[in-house]
Amino acid sequence: MSFGRFLAAAPPGGRETGATDVSKLMTMKDAIARFVRDGDLVVMEGFTHLIPFAAGHEIIRQRKRDLTLARLTPDLIYDQLIAAGCARRLIFSWAGNPGVGPLHAFRRAVEQGRPRPLEIEEYTHFGMVLRFMAGASNLPFLPTRNYPGTDLTRVNPGFKKVRSPYGDEELWCVPALNPDVTIVHAQRADADGNTQVWGLYGVQKEAAFASRRVIVSVEEVVDPSVIRSDPNRTLLPGAIVTAVVHEPFGAHPSFVQGAYDRDNDFYVGWDTISRDEAGFGRYLDEWVYGLPGRAAYIGKMGARFEELKADRQMCAPVNYGF
């Protein structure tokens, strides 16, 4: 059940998966080494929830370069990638430390070109969602009633108008976005990448379907029978997933509904850490370059993870019988 054969050859909506007879289950190190390439258009999605930080750290560790990073909210994950010099270009809609303040590395790159200049391509949340949806639907664009009067359409030539063939209305459109690779974190998947998510959905489904390659990291790798017990819960079919990484706590400092809470102290503390390049460098040395992977990161965090663990509040189960 792999689309590798034909999709590898189909630009720009193409899609690649690993060889069909090899397991998709691999380490984060292998997944990033094999499926994220210098110069790629990379999307790491998750709106507040399920942000794939472990994958972001591995990209930094492997010193990937010249990436175009796309994401609604660059958040700390892209701030770190920008500070580490991985990014050449950023496609986004809201660049801040949510609930705390600005993203300092982002601002240094845009305002001062440090550590390297960062090209920006700016939409809005709705615009980014529609760009992913257009890409996922193999359409060149999607229209919206949004955008009359905003200066965003003046500074970004990506916005274009279309006249409705059903009357005189003109609508603004956004162009499809088809990433080379999309990385998402989820509660659980089976070894083939059939992936289930609950809580906030964000735009992970649309970004993944729009993408040539998809890496999924999960809190738990489960038997297919767990997935099959609740098929409406499946967000991504294994058919579009290239690699599956078992990475518990892979979303810290963001959260995973039902597993662990957001580490808000980390978000608040980040404002100080990231305020100057030296502080940023020390963080990366200690927590990214200085560690081999997520397991070591968890060990180093120590008891903190215990404090973040979620309470138990189970849903009412439903009957799928016939």
Binding site: N138, K205, T234, P237, I240, Y320
Partner: protein, 258 residues
């Protein structure tokens, strides 16, 4: 004759067209039996998708409609129809779509809308359903239909689902990829000439003659130089169809299904 029915032969022939790993848009009847036969024989990695939204189905009984509850229970995913069409079909994730119809013509165009004029039809048929988009957007299309002058006219009364239109490069020129690859009838199997895009007879079922084919086709159909006999279903094919897939003989007795 020979221990199998024509329907079983068609199911067996259609199953052989499926490769392991194919993502298949499944319909009811011959397509459903063919996909399930392939899944049990040579293609355990096949992924069945129904336009109703069930993905990775493992039906425990023969589905009696494309929205049968047995397609949901134990499937890998159930998605809204909007996703089926946008994210799977239009995105290019469907390898094979099965289609039938009231008429199929020389260039693989399918009519399932009307016999006669659209405004004043002689027979009003069910219409496209998802057929038009499967024909337009799946990578390969396999068609099953009866072989007669009525069902295989030179030109369909109405193009519900585009094949190669008037042949040659016309389909491509309109931006459509893929297209019909195989037509399986009760008399033989046909493929499409890579240049002219015309249907060509490539195999006849056991006991059928070229003359019988020509008498039952609406135009002077071309015959492949390497014309073969359609291989009959194996005893194992027949056993699986009769004992596992359709123990009550629901589809192999009737002509219905969509």
């Amino acid at each position: 004759m020979a221990g199998y029915t024509t329907s079983e032969l068609m199911v067996s022939r259609a199953a052989k067209e499926l490769k392991n790993g194919d993502v298949v848009f499944v319909g009811i009847g011959v397509p459903s039996l063919a996909v399930n036969l392939a899944y049990r024989m040579h293609a355990p990695g096949i992924c069945m998708i129904y336009e109703s939204g069930a993905v990775g189905c493992v039906p425990k009984r023969l589905p009696i409609s494309i929205g049968d509850p047995c397609l949901v229970t134990g499937s890998l995913a159930v998605v809204p129809m909007l996703d089926v069409f946008n994210l799977y079909l239009q995105r290019g994730l469907i390898d094979v779509g099965f289609l039938g119809g009231a008429q199929v013509d020389r260039f693989g165009n399918i009519n399932s809308t009307v016999i006669g004029d659209y405004a004043k039809p002689k027979v009003r048929l069910p219409g496209s359903g998802g057929a038009c988009e499967i024909a337009a957007l799946a990578r390969r299309v396999v068609i099953t239909i009866a072989n007669s002058k009525r069902t295989l006219p030179e030109r369909v009364d109405f193009v519900t689902s585009p094949g190669y239109l008037r042949g040659g490069r016309e389909r491509e020129s309109l931006g459509l990829k893929g297209g019909p690859e195989l037509v399986i009838t009760d008399l033989g199997a046909y493929r499409f000439d890579p240049e002219t895009r015309e249907m060509v007879l490539v195999s006849m079922h056991p006991g059928v003659t070229v003359r019988k084919i020509k008498e039952n086709t609406g135009w002077d159909v071309k015959v492949a130089q390497d014309l073969t006999e359609t291989p009959p279903p194996t005893p194992e094919d027949i056993r699986i169809i009769r004992e596992e897939l359709d123990p009550q003989g629901i589809f192999l007795k009737s002509k219905a299904g969509s």
